[in-house]
Structures are given as C-alpha cells and as structure tokens.
C-alpha cells in the first residue's frame, strides 16, 4: 500500500512537472508574440503606452547615427510600410547592420521615439565565405531571394 502510494505521488509529480513546464513555456511564448509589434502597428498606435514591448523590422539604410557620447545610437526600423525611430544606449550585437533585421525591446517616449533597452540582431540564412559572397554579387543573390520567396509575400527590400 505504502509503496504504491509513493509511486502514485512520484508519477503525479512527474506529470505535474511536465504540465507546468508546458504551461510556463507556452504562456511565455504567448506573451512574447503578443508583445511584438511591427512599425505599422506602432504608427497606428496599437502598442501599449505604459509597458515594455518589442518592435521588429529592418534597419533603414543610412539612418544609423552615433551620438556624441559614443554609446548612444539612433536608427530607424521599418516593415516597408511605416518607420519607427529608435534610440539605444549600449553595445550593438555583431550582426547589427543597416538593411538587416532587428528586434528591439523597450518603450515608446512622448516624443514618438522608441527607447530600446535591448537590441537583438537577426541573422540571414546565407552562409558564404567572403570571396564567394563578393563574386556572387547582388544579381545572383537577388535571384535566390526571388526563387525562395516566389510563393510568399515579399520578404524584404534588401536593395
């Protein structure tokens, strides 16, 4: 009797553990998705005004500007429909560059600028040695992009 009860408790604990882990992770996933906004949504004021949320998109070319303190940077993020100005103080990840995807976490100021606490860079799916990437040049790369996204909505405007 006692051994069986012990087993029951152990099995119950294991199941509760798995269920708990699942719920936790799923809710985290949920909140992550619901706190993500595209620049268009931000421009349409669908974002929360009193909470931290995330903005994602591409860094607009020629908008990255470093301020005098050397640590603060300004840049603009776009989803090719709307643009959100971002200010960030800190070290940018290695893969951060103009024209590439980023996710910024922070809150929007009264001045309409998104003050980021954290800026994450997305990576591209192409893995090429520099020489190959140089010789391939844009024409071929564009061909691949068109090919792989043929049936999907336009992925990005990299040019």
């Amino acid at each position: 009797m006692k051994a069986r009860q012990k087993r029951l408790v152990l099995v119950g604990l294991a199941l509760v553990g798995v269920a708990g882990a699942t719920t936790l992770a799923l809710s985290a996933l949920q909140s992550n998705i619901s706190y993500f906004f595209s620049p268009s949504q931000v421009m349409a004021s669908e974002h929360p005004t009193d909470a931290v949320f995330r903005v994602g998109g591409l860094v607009v070319k020629d908008t990255l500007a470093r301020q005098e303190d050397g640590l603060t940077v300004h840049f603009e993020v776009t989803d090719n429909a709307a643009v959100v100005p971002v200010s960030y103080t800190g070290i940018l990840p290695d893969l951060f560059s103009e024209g590439q995807g980023v996710v910024a976490k922070g809150r929007i100021g009264d001045d309409g600028v998104f003050y980021a606490e954290e800026v994450l860079a997305k990576h591209d799916e192409s893995y090429m040695p520099p020489e190959v990437a140089d010789t391939l040049q844009t024409a071929h790369v564009d061909g691949i992009v068109e090919q792989t996204t043929g049936t999907e909505p336009p992925r990005s405007m990299t040019q």
């Binding site: 051994a3 087993r7 152990l10 099995v11 294991a14 199941l15 553990g17 798995v18 882990a21 699942t22 992770a25 985290a28 996933l29 909140s31 992550n32 998705i33 993500f36 595209s38 620049p39 995330r54 994602g56 998109g57 591409l58 989803d79 090719n80 940018l92 990840p93 290695d94 893969l95 951060f96 560059s97 024209g99 590439q100 995807g101 996710v103 954290e118 994450l120 860079a121 997305k122 990576h123 591209d124 799916e125 192409s126 893995y127 090429m128 040695p129 520099p130 020489e131 190959v132 140089d134 790369v141 691949i144 792989t148 996204t149 999907e152 909505p153 336009p154 992925r155 990005s156 990299t158």
Partner: protein, 252 residues
C-alpha cells in the same frame, strides 16, 4: 528467401548483434567527427561575408545544427519504438526506447548550450523566448520527463508503458520545433531564427556540417546499442542465455 525479422526482435538474438555493431559505429563516428572538425576548422573561411557577415563564432554551426537535428531525430526514434512497443507488446522495443532517451536528452541540451553560445555574439543574447528556442527547451523537458517517469515506477512493464505514452504525446513538439521558424516575412515575427535552407549554405560549410551530423548519428547508434546491451542484461538476468553470455564476457 525470406528473413524472419522477428528472430532479431528477441533480446537474446539482438544482444550479440548490437555487440558486433558497436565497434563499427564507434569507428565510423570517430573518423567522421575528426574529418568534420579538421575540415570545419582548417579548410573553411574564418569569417563569413555577404549579408550574413558572421565572425569566427559561426563555426558553432558544426556542432549546433547536428546536435539540434539529432535531438529531434532521436525523439522520433524514442516515440517510434514506444509506439511499436505499445502496439505489438514487444520487449525489445521498450528497451530500445529506454536506451535512446539519455542520448537524446544530451543532444537536446547540447543544442541549447551551443545555441546560447552562438546567440550571444551574433544576436546579442544567450536566450530569448524565440519559438524555436522555447520548443527545443520543451523537448528537453520531455526527455527528462520520460527518464524521470520511467525511473519513478518500480514495475518495469508499467514504467515502459507509462513512459511510452508520454513519449507519444510529446511527439507533437517535433513538428512545432521544425516549423517554428518558417515565418515568411521577417518583419512580421519576433523569431530570431531565420528560415534555414541548405541551398543557401556554401558547400565548403555544408559538407563539414553534414559530416559532423553523420558522425554524431553514428555515435548515437554506438551509445544507444551499448546502453541497450546493459538494459537487456539487467532485465533478462534470470534467463539461461545470460548465464552463458556472462561466462564469456570480459569485464573490460
């Protein structure tokens, strides 16, 4: 000529077969991993170029991607043997499933660990609740849950069946992990992982990566068979054939 496959489905028959296969799989694994490492470190560019200019840390791809693939593949194997065991009630299938779980858990942990060390320098963070990272973490919990549930139940037959059920229910996670990044427009999702396509990986990087994958795959065979042999001996220790085998086995 027909081969009676059920002949090999008995633990007594499979025990010596596994024993003969282990050295082969170990040797192939060692050779492939050494070739893959040499290729990946000495015959490829130190840094990437183009639209994904990663620095030396991109080399983590040679362990990260194989570990992540193995974590999912071994889960399919685990769930597959669990299902076969539940349906046909074959002892060896349950032993096979039990033997796979620890190796699968190790590869899942390694996928998370190497991913964290890759994410920090490239994305800017060790961890993010990115759909793929989250579902891989869940897969790790599933492996741990399988092992814990199995060891919590004293009766072997009950433990086999209960853990098998958990493995099959958890099978839903594998397609989630696999599909979690297929976000067509990077502007529309928070996912840090991008669509991965072997076609956009240069051959000089793809080949060592696939070599490492085959090496770790071969390693998995060797490790799982070694664990399976110990499980077979433990569970069949009352049978006469074990007595004969034990007399010949060297402890080494």
């Amino acid at each position: 000529m027909t081969i009676n496959w059920f002949k090999f489905a008995s633990p007594a028959a499979f025990y010596p077969i596994a024993g003969r296969l282990i050295p082969w799989f170990s040797g192939i694994a060692l050779a492939l991993v050494l070739v893959g490492l040499f290729w990946g470190f000495f015959l490829t560019a130190d840094q990437l170029g183009g639209s994904n200019p990663q620095k030396e840390y991109y080399r983590i791809i040679y362990v990260h991607v194989p570990a992540a693939w193995m974590s999912m593949w071994l889960y399919l194997v685990l769930a597959g043997w669990s299902a076969i065991g539940l349906v046909f009630n074959t002892r060896l299938s349950f032993m096979m499933a039990k033997a796979v779980a620890p190796t699968g858990a190790i590869f899942t942990f390694l996928a998370l660990w190497t991913g964290a060390l890759w994410g920090r320098p490239s994305w800017g963070t060790y961890w993010d609740w990115d759909p793929r990272l989250t579902s891989e973490l869940l897969l790790f919990f599933l492996y741990i849950g399988y092992i814990a549930l199995h060891s919590a139940i004293d009766d072997t037959r009950r433990a086999d069946r209960a853990a098998a059920l958990l493995a099959i229910v958890g099978l839903v996670m594998v397609p989630v992990i696999f599909l979690s990044i297929n976000c067509p427009d990077p502007n529309q999702c928070a996912s840090l992982h991008q669509r991965s396509d072997p076609g956009s990986i240069h051959l000089s990087i793809l080949i060592p990566m696939l070599t490492m994958t085959l090496g770790l795959w071969s390693y998995s065979f060797a490790a799982v068979f070694a664990r399976l042999r110990t499980i077979i001996l433990t569970r069949e220790s009352d049978n006469a054939w074990v007595r004969d085998v034990i007399a010949q086995e060297t402890t080494a």
